[in-house]
Amino acid sequence: MKIAAQEKGKTRRARHSEQMILFTVANRMFAIAAAAVQEIRSTDSLAVSANEIEHSEILKVRHTLERSHQTYYVVNAGAHFGLPVTRPTLVLILRQLRVAVLVDRIERMAEIAVIHALPLAFAGEERRWYRGLTYIDDHVIPVIQPAGFLTTDEFHRLDSAINAVPAPRHLLGAFQA
């Protein structure tokens, strides 16, 4: 009967609070750890440095970006989450992953002390998308899992599409910053 007692441990209490960037895509708010983001740039500034991928099988990725001799895949967050098409104005260049993410805008920074585990009811792709849920100012906000933007298989297919020279660390989609 006492569900609360049976569900101990489902909420992860961080030893220290974590800095998050709150951003929106199609009027939906998401949180991503500030430590997971290397750089935030406007999409305008990327107009000259982004390259279009011809015949991309992965519809949420249409462009690449060259950074530090690495090819980053630009993921449209709206397409990734199945949201209505918007006009992204910012790109979050992630750390540790060859991924950049198109988003509409940054709302603000926030310190989060508690990340709730995603309820077991959620059994689909969202288990890969999110680290969990947080509760800020009366809003439940999903906390992004940065590695969930592209699977290893998607990295393989994108690497093939751009005819990249395959190197083990490329295939894993990770590099040492």
Partner: protein
């Protein structure tokens, strides 16, 4: 109602109202009848889940069971009934929107016939009325009707 449920025995059921129909749940799995607090939504791909509510500092998933039980989503509800759903790896409080007050009854379960839908475990005779008893775990694991399933990743808020 919670105190009553905690004193209830195995033959005690909570009657819940969905639109103009009544169903029953074993009281042993029911924890709370919650007010219509805010439904929080975010993108996901789990078909029957409409979002989450926050109750007593916990995040509780909400299931649109009307699409299974009534064949359509029910837009009008007054409360959330929170009961325990079992998973292979544990259990969690799970909410379903209900249309009206719930009622506690004592009655004997009449076993379901073999051709009954899997989310119906039997029925109760309450007065002149035969009320279907829900198998909560089977109900929440059901696939919604195709027209509802098509709203995959429809991020609601």
């Amino acid at each position: 109602m919670i105190a009553e449920i905690q004193n209830a025995d195995a033959d005690t059921y909570v009657l819940l109202q969905l639109a103009n129909r009544r169903f029953a749940l074993p009281s042993a799995i029911v924890s709370e009848l919650a007010p219509p607090v805010r439904l929080h939504t975010f993108p996901h791909t789990s078909p029957l889940v409409s979002g989450v509510i926050v109750r007593r500092g916990r995040i509780v998933p909400v299931y649109d069971v009307a699409s299974i039980l009534l064949g359509r989503s029910s837009s009008v509800h007054r409360f959330y009934l929170i009961a325990r759903r079992n998973f292979p790896d544990g259990s969690e409080g799970s909410a379903i929107p209900v249309s009206g007050e719930c009622e506690l009854v004592n009655a004997k379960l009449q076993e379901a016939s073999e051709n009954t839908r899997p989310h119906i475990s039997g029925h109760l005779l309450v007065g002149d009325e035969s009320i279907e008893v829900l198998n909560f775990d089977a109900l929440l694991a059901s696939e919604p009707a195709p027209h509802n399933a098509s709203r995959r990743v429809e991020a609601q808020s």
